[in-house]
C-alpha cells in the first residue's frame, strides 16, 4: 500500500458525476425553455449527446430527471440565501432572494413544472434532497418574514404563509415573460419593476 492519500472518490465516480451534471444542466435548460410537458426525453439525450437508453441508466424516469433539476436549483437557492450578508435587514434579505429568483427566470434557468401533474408531484415529494432543501429554504424565508413583520417593514396583517407563497410565485410569474416580450425594458429594469409591484403594490404610496 502506498502512503499517498487515497482519493475519496474514484475516477470512475467523478466521470459519472460529470456526466450526470451535464444531463441535469440540459434538463434544467429545456425545462426552463419549454416546460415539463413539452420537453421530451429524446431531446434531453440529444442535447447531452448520449443515447436515450443511457439516460435511463442514470435516471429511471422523466419525472426523476425533472426532480434532479429541481434539487439543483434548490441547492443554488440555499447557497444564495446562506451567502446573504448577516447584517442585512430581514426585508432586504427577502428582496434579495426574490430578486435572485426572478433573475434566474429571466436568464432562462428556472425550470417550470406543471403544478397539477400528480405523478410528478409524487416523485418530488418522495425526493429527500428536494424536500429537505424546500423545507430549509422555507424555514429561512419564514423566519425573515416574521422578523420583517415584527420590525414593521412587512405588513403584520398578512399571514406569513401568504407572504411566503407570494414570494415563491415570483419564480413563475408570467409578468416577467410578458415584459420581456414587450421589449421596452431590459432584464434589470423588469426585475426592479416586478419587485416594486410585489413589495410596494400597485397603489400609490
Amino acid at each position: 500500500m502506498s502512503s499517498i492519500a487515497i482519493p475519496r472518490v474514484s475516477f470512475k465516480a467523478q466521470m459519472l458525476k460529470v456526466r450526470e451534471d451535464a444531463i441535469i444542466e440540459a434538463v434544467n435548460r429545456l425545462l426552463a425553455e419549454k416546460g415539463f410537458d413539452a420537453m421530451t426525453v429524446d431531446e434531453v439525450a440529444a442535447n447531452v449527446g448520449i443515447a436515450k437508453a443511457s439516460l435511463y441508466k442514470h435516471f429511471p424516469s422523466k419525472e426523476h430527471l425533472a426532480a434532479a433539476a429541481m434539487v439543483r436549483v434548490m441547492r443554488q437557492a440555499q447557497d444564495f440565501c446562506a451567502a446573504l450578508a448577516l447584517d442585512a435587514s430581514p426585508l432586504e434579505k427577502l428582496r434579495a432572494a426574490t430578486r435572485w429568483t426572478m433573475g434566474l427566470k429571466l436568464a432562462g434557468q428556472m425550470p417550470s413544472l406543471p403544478s397539477q401533474n400528480s405523478t410528478l408531484r409524487a416523485t418530488l415529494i418522495a425526493n429527500r434532497d428536494y424536500m429537505d432543501g424546500l423545507i430549509e429554504v422555507s424555514d429561512l424565508l419564514g423566519g425573515w418574514i416574521e422578523a420583517a413583520q415584527a420590525d414593521g417593514s412587512i405588513s403584520p396583517k398578512l399571514p406569513a404563509i401568504a407572504v411566503l407563497y407570494t414570494l415563491y410565485a415570483r419564480a413563475c410569474d408570467p409578468v416577467l415573460e410578458f415584459l420581456m416580450m414587450n421589449g421596452q425594458y431590459n432584464n434589470d429594469e423588469i426585475v426592479e419593476l416586478v419587485l416594486s409591484t410585489c413589495f410596494d403594490g400597485l397603489n400609490t404610496r
Copy 2:
C-alpha cells in the same frame, strides 16, 4: 306560406348551438382542472357524451377546442366589465375586474393554457373573436389604469402596461391554489388576501 313570423334561427341551428355550448363547457372545465396538455380529446368526448369523431365535426382540432373556451371566458369578461357601475372609480373597477378573475379561477372555471405552445398560440391569434375580445378588454382596462394613475390612486411611476400585465397575471396566480390547498382560508378570504397583496403590496403602509 304562413303569416307566422319565420324564426331567425332554425331548430337545427339551435340544437347545434346547444351541443356546442355543452362541448365548450366541458372543455372549459377540463382546461381549468388539468390544463391543456393533460386534457385529452377522448375525455372531452366522454364528458359531453358523444363520440370523438362527432367532436371533430364541430371543432377541427384540440387547439380550436381550447380557443373556443377562451373566446367564451373573454366574452364573460367583456360582459362583466360592461356591467360595472358607471360611477365607480377607475381603481374600484380595476379591483372588481381582478376580483372577478380570481373568483373564476377559484371556482375552477378559468382555463389554463401553456403560454409556450406555439401551435396553440397561432390558433388563438388567428381567432378573430378571441383577439377582438382581448383587445377590447385590454383597451377598457388600459383606460381605467390611466385614469387611476391620473387621479393618483394607482402609482403613476409604474408603466401602464406593467400594471395591465400584473392584473392579467392574477388569472393564473399559483398563490390562489396554494392558499386553497392550505385550507385555513375560504375562497372569499383568499381573493381579498391576494387582492390586498396585489394592490397594497407586502410592505407595511
